[in-house]
Symmetry: D3
Subunit: 218 residues, 6 copies
Amino acid sequence: MGNILVINPNSTEAVTRGIDEAMAPLRIPGGPGIECMTLAEGPPGIETQQHVDGVIAPLVKLVRERQGEYAAFVIACYSDPGIFSVREATDKPVLGISECGVLTALTLGQKFGVIAILRKSIPRHLRYLGAMGVMDRLAAELPIELPVTELSNVEKTFGRMLEVGKALRDDHGANVLVMGCAGMARYREPLQDAVGIPVVEPSQAAVGMAIARTRLNW
Amino acid sequence: MGNILVINPNSTEAVTRGIDEAMAPLRIPGGPGIECMTLAEGPPGIETQQHVDGVIAPLVKLVRERQGEYAAFVIACYSDPGIFSVREATDKPVLGISECGVLTALTLGQKFGVIAILRKSIPRHLRYLGAMGVMDRLAAELPIELPVTELSNVEKTFGRMLEVGKALRDDHGANVLVMGCAGMARYREPLQDAVGIPVVEPSQAAVGMAIARTRLNW
Amino acid sequence: MGNILVINPNSTEAVTRGIDEAMAPLRIPGGPGIECMTLAEGPPGIETQQHVDGVIAPLVKLVRERQGEYAAFVIACYSDPGIFSVREATDKPVLGISECGVLTALTLGQKFGVIAILRKSIPRHLRYLGAMGVMDRLAAELPIELPVTELSNVEKTFGRMLEVGKALRDDHGANVLVMGCAGMARYREPLQDAVGIPVVEPSQAAVGMAIARTRLNW
Amino acid sequence: MGNILVINPNSTEAVTRGIDEAMAPLRIPGGPGIECMTLAEGPPGIETQQHVDGVIAPLVKLVRERQGEYAAFVIACYSDPGIFSVREATDKPVLGISECGVLTALTLGQKFGVIAILRKSIPRHLRYLGAMGVMDRLAAELPIELPVTELSNVEKTFGRMLEVGKALRDDHGANVLVMGCAGMARYREPLQDAVGIPVVEPSQAAVGMAIARTRLNW
Amino acid sequence: MGNILVINPNSTEAVTRGIDEAMAPLRIPGGPGIECMTLAEGPPGIETQQHVDGVIAPLVKLVRERQGEYAAFVIACYSDPGIFSVREATDKPVLGISECGVLTALTLGQKFGVIAILRKSIPRHLRYLGAMGVMDRLAAELPIELPVTELSNVEKTFGRMLEVGKALRDDHGANVLVMGCAGMARYREPLQDAVGIPVVEPSQAAVGMAIARTRLNW
Amino acid sequence: MGNILVINPNSTEAVTRGIDEAMAPLRIPGGPGIECMTLAEGPPGIETQQHVDGVIAPLVKLVRERQGEYAAFVIACYSDPGIFSVREATDKPVLGISECGVLTALTLGQKFGVIAILRKSIPRHLRYLGAMGVMDRLAAELPIELPVTELSNVEKTFGRMLEVGKALRDDHGANVLVMGCAGMARYREPLQDAVGIPVVEPSQAAVGMAIARTRLNW
């Protein structure tokens, strides 16, 4: 029974480390190992549709080459880049953090809100939610819209997440929030505490579902 | 870190045993234990809305009394009886096999078909799918409609499941099937092999999601 | 041709009296009598899912025992507790004030807004609207969120209803309002006058539909 | 308190008589009188969009002229011709049999099927159901597709209704049927008996709702 | 190969002139001529459902009489009055500016906002969007709500369009705007420049689609 | 005013020729020229998600390099590969034949059916229709499911298209059909004649919309 490979499709190691740290509680003795890696071919951040589509080929190549070594694959970018191509390339389970984050949120509240990083990503995310057929459950998706240079400012980033989270809760009726990005798991618990409704960290949601899939063999 | 309690809300021990056997692959050495129990107060089978509503009070009582002992609860009946009341009664994660079975199916195909036991349960299930907001993903739900006395006839039951599964695939465009009942995990793999599309056993789907939730503490 | 029994599932007689007074215009000399009763077993108010589910058994018992005496039953709580179980228990028409209130609103405006008492009831109401398949017609549901102790303060209650009604009209585009509670019919007309769009009192809507059903025998 | 005027927008007196007979159970002593009239300007049957649109002007004129005499108006054609124009022309309640028939069906089953007379009317009806926002509740709409000359043949007409009703129930999962036409109330009860699921006659559904509206004054 | 007849169903020549000017870029030397005419029988403005329904008969008559002379017809009022009746009356393509404006917007952004003139038209427009089945793509529709007398005030009108356009973009998440009226093409470009997202002028969208239809012969 | 570049993303010249021939009626003297080219980097046919995603990079590169030469771009594969990436890469209009084919069909019938080549493409197409938000208008999508080697057999291919078209019309209620592939325009007219409902050839629909866009400059 192999490990789960979590692939960060952007090339920023700090994001991969953030994901890796978020995996700690999911590392069960006797359960599947969870390895996190950075896609070397990825851009520093996945911000545009071209970024999303640009990592598909290396993702497919990577999974095809290493499918014998792993029991499941998780694509750890909130746009779920290449998820359907990668699923064609292997018989192993392939999960996307956006899909799993949203589906998990559906078990935690009737209306989910999404905290995006960038406003320009929202139409892309909405197309995906439309394809998922869950638009009736969406409260709204709102961006923190911080320039990348400010994302390393923990206080500012958390401040904006909190503002957006409260707006989703109060103005749009969200009962649960999904973090629309990977690598920010550190904010999950304080955000949940501050907003007072469940917050889903999508990498954890996806790996959580992947663990079961590696055991069930479907 | 406690165990997961899987509650079969009907009083038929054979169903509980079927669920328990289905849990084998999800029992990870260092992971949460998975205990399956029968709700003594339940009817032999949950076939009507009155059956569904009738088990809510004992389910709430049971979970409230034992919430200190367990890390998560799974209600193992495809109507997810009392799921929202039980969630109010405890801060521990409470998952329903219908909700989790359907959400898991959404990761395995664009259109899911449901194999129900009884035709009269379908309107109830459709109300639930409507509340879940996933009607656009439903191919169809069709019943095997076998009298209870024949459900112990493995060959007949499997034969009808196969007929219904093929109809869902060919006439309604299903790419994935959900078994609309608990305690029939034994049929999952042969059915999947025979129909050629993924088949989700909902108790496994729910407990799979519960494992992660016990570790993530949300 | 029997009477209609309107059951207030909470045990607060004042609510039953409010419903009873709202019935005055629907009492047609040669038409069905309209009797309002309080469910003794109910909680003082139905505020949680456990309250909703907790009254199902006594409702079923009541209707089953008295179905020979009445021509139709109306469950007068905006969560329509037990409506599907009660329908199984009798061949007589069983109507819920939430379902009928919303359906009636659909004939009075393209987008309906709901004035809820408590914020925490909204996810439950939205699940029901999702099951009804009418989410596209919903403008929004907003709560007056007054503590129970203040609900007897007529001025304050009306003031909050007015604020919420105007927000539904102006910020969410509602063309018609549904009062998301029973026993507040006294506010219907002044609210309608003050907001300037139709306001549906759901008990009246439900009993209105029940009258026809008692005559049509289906 | 005035009467209800039920307007058959086609000029076929036999249809008006059929509607009038269907009103018998809804004529409550002490309740609003129910008068049925034929729109002289209407075509013999309303089969096309041009027929539908062509009766709007005379309907508006009629209601505007006679609004002082009546407490409510019902437009008794399954395409609800001119319903929104007529509503503008009067403050009195205006109900359409299609809208009310469908809404009533929503209280009787989770999936409704519609029995249309002509296949070519179905797109028009579907546009209306789309505008009503209830497509998720529709099982299907199927036509009996009999030439007008055969509609007077009771046996043939009932035979086709039965075939279509069974197809809606068995192949499309309908739990309740709506008769997609006026003036055929005589078939309602035998059809319901033969198909075994509730059948809604839309003129009765609309007048039933109108009775309450005349009493409630909204 | 004939011309396209664009019919302004209101009787205000200035509106027709505005539409005609907007056609300039679509007049291709070897392509179909584009003629704009005023429906003499129309009201000065189409503001109510009665206005909408009132122009159907003259529109049908006009198109039926002149269908031999033209290759396609465009109904240039944002309520698409009589579109389905006119389609029955001729085999030539008949396009509505509302339908084409919205469909074109779907190619330019994931969420479209509509700038209406009058608040009271919005329910009518929403019914149409519901019939079109595109409610999930609607951000919102908001009115400029200027009295007719002020619509000739270019500065005031543009100012309100800009306010509404920004509200649709910022508060409702619109990525593209549709002008919910004909004859205001002059504002399209400055509005687009000022709001920074694409703005669709629906007459241009409809005639644009009509040009292809005249060439394709379907 | 430049030409329109129609890009066949598969490398089969015969498909490009078929598209090119279908453009004949859209070549208006004085209008934009229409050039059709084959994407050299494409696979012989686009049958899988990997094929779809695999052509995005060369499509983006092509359009970026040549955007100065053309007024609009059309991606002529029914999966609209890379449409959102290509839109990012240029300010010129970029249209997809799937999007435009479906939107055009919405003006021709209330329920559209899609004739796919391969069953395995249907989930991908349904995701796209879900993202478009038009699932309520879909009758069904059915495949002709002929092996590639038989697609050159005109008689067999047309025979299967006809079978599927009739099934969409009769069993699923389609009022209009969309050909779910490029390069088969030759079948459009005979198919429409044989099935008796409009048939949309998506390359023509897209280029038709592109012509207007090149003139309108938005």
